[in-house]
Symmetry: D2
Subunit: 341 residues, 4 copies
């Protein structure tokens, strides 16, 4: 359902023209004449109408504004599926009572290092291993990741620890090698509206962790999920990792209210990445606990044995001992809100 | 300590001019010539130098930028007082192990209503009563609060329940009547940089709850606290209540990372107001729990017996039964993070 | 006219309850049942309904969202007055073909300095003198303005040059002395929602320059103007001076599109302050020219003879020679868009 | 040059550790002990140090913060090339006295339509034809562009009118067909940090129009340009098209101050796209004129013969007659600022 608000000076002819156009599109029009304004209610299944078609009415003569009532996403909507989705990955189920922690370094840097971290985070209770092989870096002169070699190391660490692996894809041309080595494909924040990449990962059955863009609304995040799901892949997890605001005390601003908001709008599981949001390791623990209390289904946390030597994002990585201590605290908070870790 | 970065083309004369000016202000200058740039370190107690004086160097010939190293606030700084402040209000102490919940309606609407709500929130475990008598309303045609009559009702409800009262001041000319009836003076978000009002409440010993402005950085919030403290009143509590961002799914975006950030920078207690942040009662509970998990010292929550008849902010108010249920959940989360409610 | 969108699961009883409430308020209800959603159109003059009353429907059982169709401001609206307002101040008329330039230092610092600047800006073509006597400073330790002495100096400079004077009010208790010495009262960005101050300046006939708050929407700016106008003072000029965004290359982000947007929504004149927006004198000239091209009715520009010694905002002040050169350029741009300076 | 600020409690050992690490990286360290803080100046060519390496110092024990002094981009920097770049495309030169207008529909919809618009905009004075064949759409259910067929139509319209063609690339796999048909490759706002795509277009000599991301800082825009230039392609034009802020009166907020800011930091030409920024055709003209007054080197404007039937962005497109009128106005403004159209 859409609502079309006419300009105060709109003529009867303009009004009829709009109604005619709606009828031609297969909709009924319901005209309400108020004392100041006339509005036209669009009756019919407007969920099939794209945002742009809907907005195109704003260029019609006599129209002031179009209010969209229907959500522009369908498959991702809570109305489409009332129950929260459960996503099975190996022995793990995301979206259920158990909260999953995905931990590991920002980038895969070398074999020894990754295997050591993987063992540490597994021991502390993490159920997924994260690590980047293809790295989106702000500067062309920064370390860009080990590429396929990094994927092989991740794969080996996964075999050794039994932890499924999450890693980022940056280029649709890498899909083959990623599918081979990885359990969960991550779409990074900067690629949330790289629509071709979304369609590519949507064409396979591999679970996807979709990160919210730095300035993406929750509605846009759900539309990005819709892009993946419309290709047939329904195994999508949404990840809030901080949005861009005017505040500079943290790297980004963690929008934790996204958790209950998404839970109302969608059936997809929600993961929180406090490390990228705050950008400073000292702030990771309180925000991880807050995320669990807010109802998150999972956490993504950067852990590095030697943060000061990390090739990326060292300042926001926890050392294994800190991570272990945090896991213990998280268990207590999870229990307090009826979940478990 | 400030750092003055010179332009690549700055001359030796310009450099000497800057050094001379620093010396005249009582500072030593420490010149570092890099291969691309020259920077001048300002040696001495620059905390006495205002932001503006510091920035004024940017209008000197040859200067590219001034980086401020020293925090511009002193009394509010963790460096000034290492231990967290404890603020005593009646029998309550804010900033200690116990987390305090300040609950009540957005506006005081009538005697019967307020007294009923006050009894309900007390029973549920709230330790402060909140309610507005002077209301900052976006529209001049909205209900503006009961004024002094509202203060008298608050005062009566306080006597009946034993709950200390928090209410907002909007005009320095109201200070007399506010001091008479109220236990904690609230400075609202829209007045966070109403410097005359800050100075006015700073001139008395009454505790102040200072709300963060919609687009205020944490640094600016601390500077606003400094305004109050510089007048001699050190009983300041800081309140995060949502900042303005591009996201419209919530009324504002609750910046929960402000809790650990402020805890590092300042010794002042931090209160979270989830009601104003999210603007929808269904989202209040998860964010209240998250606030406790993040380390907040208190919560401010809107409660109304008949939200649908509230003269303001009904859509974000909890009914007493919901509030009671929330308090129970909060107790569990508080315990999980080593606090109590 | 408001539109009330019901939840998909809303019952007939809930719907009747909402209709009954509307009828009680004196409105007709127009129910449109769509295939997915039902919406209720509110028929009648809802402009008398405050934003809050309107929003209060969101706390009614069965309601998803309320869309406001009617603008919440009346006196400030272009619908209320079709022609652009002309505001006469001495011999100057703001809002007509002529674009006015208000120039002067950020703060009045001393008599000699101000009089020298006043003479310079008058000679270059400015038609108003700006200068602050009461200064809102982020730090309590910064220069706070000369107060009444500053007003007297402004008044003297005004008599000597014939330029009307614009200065900021920060405290309703200063209204008497301000009215005595000043031609235009400025409400600063930080006080745009200091509603008591708005009501105070609304009670007198003196023209008001109302600055947009750092994070205020254009709608909120117009509501703040409505506060002043509702008290009887219709001589309001709106001033865009930069909004707060994530970008840090400029002090604020100058939202020049506010000029045509406000022109469509309101009959009030629009002034642009590029100095505070960009915060760096080198960027002032291009943005001043852009403001004129966008259709601004006036400019507010900081000029200082010795920016490097200014007690505030020196880095964004033009020297008199630069200002003179800019005025010449502005004349050419004004002519190109059918205006004059 | 970087500045490393130590924590107040940093030990001598921690300090020596940092200095040692700097020396190992080939830098000299210049320690300044202030009364409150110690800072370390890094001496040497830090422009080769990536942002991440620089930031990694923040995870070292004893470090509070790293201030970056050197710009992280080199090839895009005004320091690297003092004179503004001139980019030749056919007979047109971008970056010189002449301001270029790139006009056309949002999407190529069909042959007849595009050819008619192309003829219209050429006649009105446009010097480039814009049009999308691959369209990034928020919804998977929206029209996604005609793809290669669209490129062929563009190419034909280009041959008929002599106007060089600008079109967007979304996927590195399309580079071949794009190179074949197009004169300027556009990187859209949503792909500004699609680093693989940047590298792909950087590998060829075809001029690139790089749009600023919705929440990208100017520094990040320049880093994205650096990605392209680092591959050998120096023909990069930067395009400001509105950033995301809290204001909803316009689709985005046009940051016109980006023009003079970029002119100071970089030698690359700057193009303004007012259509996408404001999102409403009535606001396009004032902002186009403002852009010229602010010093833009070009404009990108959406023109459509039947905006109400456009498959995308009709509400922000000018009809040919309006566009013609605007071009006349733009010529006057260009002349007033010493440029020509």
């Amino acid at each position: 359902m859409d609502i079309i608000v006419l300009r105060p000076e709109a003529t009867a002819k303009e009004r009829r023209n709009i109604v005619k156009r709606l009828n031609k599109m297969g909709f009924d029009a319901h005209v309400s004449k108020g004392t100041e304004r006339t509005v036209i209610g669009v009756i019919g299944d407007t969920s099939k109408v794209s945002e742009d078609e809907s907005r195109s009415f704003e260029s019609l003569s006599g129209v002031e504004k179009v209010h969209r009532i229907t959500e522009p996403y369908r498959l991702a909507s809570r109305n489409f599926q009332g129950k929260g989705s459960l996503i099975k990955i190996g022995k793990n189920v995301i979206g259920g009572k158990r909260i999953h922690v995905m931990a590991g370094p920002c980038s895969v840097e070398n074999r020894a290092n990754l295997i050591s971290i993987a063992a540490d985070v597994k021991k502390a209770g993490a159920t997924f291993l994260r690590g980047g092989a293809f790295k989106p870096r702000t500067s062309p002169y920064s370390f860009q990741g080990l590429g396929e070699e990094g994927l092989e190391i991740l794969s080996e660490a996964s075999r050794m620890t039994g932890l499924p692996v999450v890693t980022e894809i940056m280029d649709p041309r890498d899909i083959g090698v990623i599918l081979k080595h990885v359990d969960v494909i991550q779409i990074g924040a900067r690629n949330m509206q790289n629509f071709r990449l979304l369609q590519e990962v949507g064409s396979y059955g591999k679970p996807v962790l979709l990160k919210r863009g730095l300035s993406a609304t929750i509605k846009e995040l759900l539309m990005a999920a819709e892009y993946i799901m419309a290709q047939g892949n329904e195994k999508v997890m949404l990840c809030e990792r901080g949005i861009r605001t005017f505040e500079t005390a943290t790297r980004n601003t963690l929008d934790l209210s996204a958790v209950p908001v998404i839970k109302r709008l969608s059936h997809l599981p929600v993961i929180i990445d406090p490390s990228h949001a705050v950008g400073k390791w000292e702030l990771v623990s309180p925000m991880a606990k807050a995320a669990v209390a807010a109802g998150a289904d999972g956490l993504m946390i950067e852990v590095h044995s030697h943060p000061e030597e990390a090739l990326s994002d060292g300042e926001q990585s926890l050392k294994p001992a800190k991570f272990k201590a945090l896991m213990k605290e998280l268990k207590a908070v999870a229990k307090a809100v009826g979940r478990e870790i």
